[in-house]
């Protein structure tokens, strides 16, 4: 009995202890709850928001690019794409089959679609086709009842209404490639976002891009969007007004036609570039919508190099277009005066080397103006021989040769102006007098780009001011002060008279390119440069005619000019690769200068 009482007592005592332990454990839970929900609440609130809020960037419309008269050169067009949402169709295969009857898909396209479908959850729209044409769009719209799961999405894509014409100025946009630092702008991380890859699109890319908007969405655990929490619109990209004139750009592009070459035209007082063409070109629309490999191979392997921007990246001997600078140097250093004459017999010798004038019969006695008019080589050989290359180089640099113009287009080349010091450094050899002589006619080491030549001629035309080329449209009323170059009015008058005679006086090398528009004429200088050496033997047996040579051995044709001759406004440089003779280039130069003068006479002048 006693033991029975003990048994009961133990049960009560131990039960009370058990109860106390349980109470304590429950209290521990409260303590833990306090720790999580009060002490660590902020941390977990942040984590919960990270879970549920998905921030998406809203891509702002890219800035529009205009010419100087507000013609759109690059715009954003509605782009329709077809998407498929797997969970909205009872049978994906059936929908795809039905779709293929309306719009065929290539095997690759279908493979990609099926891969994307497998990789993503059912509510994720998968792209089927991009850049739909109107007729396809309407066909799909009509068949929507038979295409469950098919969705049409509308976006913006870059469009260049003038196709090839502005290819090398405006450039194009394409998807961000790997080497770009995406930290600088969150937009760069948006899938499918496109950035300027060349030309103005690249130059002003940051302005054109705009500022990304933000959309905060609530998503569930599998990523489905439940609702929009907040949406902040982005800021559209800035509009860009270019100095280009659509009409002159078209003219330049048309003039080049099938040729391979470049035309750069600018206002001699402001440097505003009015036309900037490099031919052949490409269709930038192909790049922004995605180039096929076929197209790419064709562009890459084309002999005339459509992808090369010849206006800034092509380097050519200036040939006779360089003679004005030699003349100016000679006048400056007193080697020649207006009246100084040289005798051209068709060749001159130095030691046992013979230097030929382009005219075997020779020009007889010529002064500088005549030498320019007829492009006599002997006159400038002699001048260069007396001056030496360094003095010529000084003038050339003063007129913008040998340096990048930094106009903003990528891959610009600096050209080259040699000096005695350079040759010593580069080759460890003395400069040869013969090298000075051929420099006198813009041959030898000298290299220039068409945009440099346009700058050079504008500086001559504007009376010797250091004008710089630019693509930005300048305010009409703002006056830009350019540095006065170290050149005399006397010298400029002489070379300008020579250049006037080239075009407008019988016997000038480009007399056939002359025009007279209400008394306004042009002045200029041709250049013809050999791309192959003419051997002694060939000279004796008779030089082959240009027409008989294969295209790639024909001479390059160059022309620099300005108009009107008495009050220059426009300067132009023309290059035709293997264009046979400078006269051909002068012909194009004349056309475009005349066009500019004609436009100024209409109710919408160039300004």
């Amino acid at each position: 009995m006693n033991r029975d009482t003990d048994k009961g007592k133990i049960l009560i005592a131990r039960s009370l202890f058990l109860g106390a332990v349980q109470l304590f454990l429950l209290f521990l839970l409260v303590f833990r709850l306090y720790y999580l929900q009060v002490y660590q609440a902020d941390k977990y609130k942040t984590l919960a928001d990270e879970n549920r809020i998905s921030t998406r960037l809203l891509v702002p419309p890219r800035g529009i690019i205009y010419d100087r008269h507000e013609n759109m050169l690059a715009e954003n067009r509605q782009n329709f794409q077809v998407l498929i949402v797997a969970e909205q169709t009872p049978n994906i295969d059936k929908t795809l089959e039905a779709f293929k009857k309306i719009m065929p898909l290539t095997e690759d396209e279908e493979k990609k679609i099926r891969k994307d479908l497998k990789r993503n959850r059912g509510f994720v729209p998968i792209k089927i086709k991009d850049n739909l044409r109107w007729e396809d769009l309407t066909k799909i719209m009509l068949n929507m009842p038979y295409l469950p799961g098919i969705v049409i999405d509308e976006g913006l894509s870059r469009y260049y209404p003038f196709d090839n014409i502005f290819a090398h100025v405006i450039g194009y946009v394409a998807a961000v490639s790997g080497d770009v630092d995406t930290k600088k702008d969150p937009l760069l991380e948006v899938p499918g976002f496109k950035v300027g890859k060349s030309g103005v699109e690249k130059m002003f890319d940051k302005d054109l891009r705009g500022i990304a908007g933000n959309q905060k969405l609530e998503v569930n655990a599998i990523g489905r969007v439940m609702k929009e929490i907040e949406s902040v619109e982005g800021i559209s990209g800035k509009r860009i007004d270019l100095s280009l004139d659509l009409r002159l750009q078209k003219e330049a592009y048309d003039l080049l036609g099938e040729e391979s070459g470049a035309i750069v035209m600018m206002k001699v007082d402001t440097g505003e570039i009015l036309s900037f063409a490099s031919a052949p070109a490409f269709d930038p629309n192909l790049f922004s919508s995605g180039l096929t490999s076929q197209d790419w191979i064709e562009l890459r392997d084309n002999e005339k190099k459509p992808l090369l921007n010849k206006a800034v990246s092509g380097q050519y001997s200036p040939g006779s277009t360089f003679k004005m600078l030699v003349g100016l140097t000679a006048l400056k250093h007193g080697v020649s005066t207006r009246k100084t004459k040289s005798f051209c017999s068709g060749k001159m010798t130095l030691g046992n080397h013979t230097f030929h004038c382009w005219k075997d019969a020779g020009h007889g006695y010529v002064d500088m103006e005549q030498a320019l008019q007829h492009s006599c080589d002997i006159y400038f050989y002699e001048a260069a021989q007396k001056l030496g290359v360094d003095k010529i180089a000084e003038t050339a640099k003063e007129f913008g040769l040998g340096f990048r113009t930094n106009v903003g287009i990528e891959n610009e080349k600096s050209g080259f102006i040699p000096t005695t010091e350079w040759k010593m450094k580069r080759f460890g050899e003395q400069w040869q007098q013969g090298e000075s002589i051929i420099s006198g006619i813009g041959q030898g080491y000298i290299l220039t780009t068409p945009i440099q030549l346009a700058t050079m001629i504008s500086r001559i035309a504007n009376g010797g001011y250091e004008v710089k080329p630019t693509f930005e449209k300048l305010d009409k009323n703002s006056k830009i002060e350019f540095r006065k170059l170290d050149v005399s009015q006397y010298g400029l008058d002489i070379v300008k008279k020579g250049m006037y005679d080239v075009i407008n006086t019988q016997g000038g090398t480009a007399y056939s390119a002359r025009f007279d528009f209400n008394g306004k004429k042009m002045a200029g200088k041709t250049g013809t440069t050999q791309v192959r050496r003419i051997s002694m033997k060939e000279r004796q047996s008779g030089v082959l005619k240009q027409e008989d040579l294969p295209w790639k051995y024909r001479n390059h044709a160059l022309f620099v000019g300005y108009a009107p001759h008495d009050n220059p406004k426009y300067g132009v440089a023309v290059l035709i690769e293997h264009g046979k003779s400078g006269t051909a280039a002068a012909y194009l130069g004349g056309k475009i200068l005349r066009k500019a003068l004609e436009l100024d006479a209409t109710d919408q002048p160039i300004d």
Binding site: L11, I12, Q22, Q37, Y44, K45, R52
Partner: protein
């Protein structure tokens, strides 16, 4: 309330009225409050719908409530008489489900009753308590303290535990073990024996580890380091903590739990319902639920200690401990204090068998209270 003159009545039978008025209405009210919280949370779990859980839960609670009332009216001597019978019947069911299921159609833990699926392992939680209470009631303290005396009850525990482990249902097996352990402790088994067993378990842990299923091993490892596998098993516990913590003091509001409604929180209607509650009603809601549970457990202890019979006391203590284990394991699990072992929060989590077994348990506790002055012998 306490009527001392009744204590000597050995063969007294309580009338229906006595039994009815003997039911603790405050206890029943607490149970109803908790069940209501559960239904409200299930309504929220379905994004504000009665379907598919809240209504079904309400019906099951109704059934459970009926079972509780029936139990409350049973004479405690009937329980005593049939304790072993009940134990062996449930053990048989467990065996059938285990062996038949294993041999036959793959692992099946339940018997289909048509309107609900009955898990014998759930019933075992009650049956085992009844059998142990009957056994310890029948022997002397001397025998309890002897080695021989605990061999039989140990066998009674280990048989169902073994069967449940084979299912494999680690959570239920542990609950059976802990419930039995608590009862062994309460009746006076010496502490050194517990020490011996615990030491033995720790020593054999590496061996037992070999027998665990990979998913069980993962659960334990993930519990020790949830970041080990943030997208797999660790995902549950990480998301649960985020839901809890982000609820803060006042919660995000009814139907506004982002973690739960956006499906970041898994199993929100079953094992992780307490997390959802804490997300929507905050620390205040969570403490409220813990406090109601505390009151239910405290009441149960009072009923146990008020009973004049050894059997009644032990029966109530065993059942209360079993209920307590549900609560503590589930909540500790979602708070990241225990591995995710798959134990629901009774009355709140969605699930039929648990409600039925827990409500039956409450019914028996109520019966213990009603019959507190019935003097019963050792047989």
């Amino acid at each position: 309330m306490y009527k001392s003159y009744e204590t000597s009545f050995r063969g007294h039978r309580l009338s229906f009225g006595e039994k009815f008025w003997g039911i603790s209405f405050s206890y029943v009210l607490l149970i109803c409050i908790l069940a209501s919280v559960g239904i409200v949370m299930l309504y929220s779990a379905a994004n504000g719908n009665w379907h598919p859980w809240a209504l079904a839960q309400l019906i099951r609670f109704g059934l459970g409530f009926g079972a509780m009332l029936v139990m409350a009216f049973v004479d405690i001597r009937i329980f005593l008489r049939f304790s072993y019978w009940i134990y062996f019947i449930v053990l048989g069911l467990l065996f059938i489900v285990e062996v038949a299921g294993y041999v036959g159609m793959g692992a099946q833990r339940w018997i289909n009753l048509g309107f609900m699926k009955l898990q014998p392992s759930e019933l075992m939680k009650i049956a085992l308590v009844m059998a142990l209470a009957k056994y310890f009631n029948s022997i002397t303290l001397q025998r309890i303290e002897s080695i021989k005396g605990i061999i039989l009850p140990l066998a009674m525990v280990l048989m169902p535990v073994g069967l449940v482990l084979m299912q494999p249902d680690l959570g239920t097996a542990l609950m059976l073990l802990f419930t039995a352990g608590a009862m062994f402790f309460a009746v006076g088994v010496q502490l050194w024996k517990f020490g011996l067993v615990i030491t033995g378990m720790i020593v054999s842990l590496p061996i037992a580890w070999q027998f665990l299923h990979t998913y069980q091993k993962n659960r334990v490892l993930t519990f020790l380091d949830p970041e080990r596998d943030p997208l797999g098993t660790g995902y549950h516990i990480i998301q649960s903590k985020i839901a809890l913590g982000s609820g803060g003091v006042f919660g995000k509001g009814f139907l506004n739990g982002t973690q739960s409604h956006l499906n970041f929180l898994p199993e929100k209607h079953t094992d992780f319902i307490f997390t959802m509650l804490s997300e929507e009603f905050g620390l205040i809601g969570a403490i409220f639920v813990i406090f109601i549970n505390f009151l239910i457990i405290a009441y149960s202890y009072v009923f146990a200690l008020r009973s004049t019979s050894y059997y009644g006391k032990l029966l109530a203590i065993g059942l209360t401990t079993s209920y307590f284990l549900y609560v503590i394991i589930n909540i500790a699990m979602v708070l990241g204090l225990l591995p995710v072992v798959g134990v629901p929060l009774p009355l709140i989590s969605y699930g039929g068998t648990v409600i039925l077994s827990v409500m039956t348990g409450f019914g028996i506790i109520l019966a213990v209270n009603t019959n507190r002055n019935i003097n019963i012998g050792k047989d």
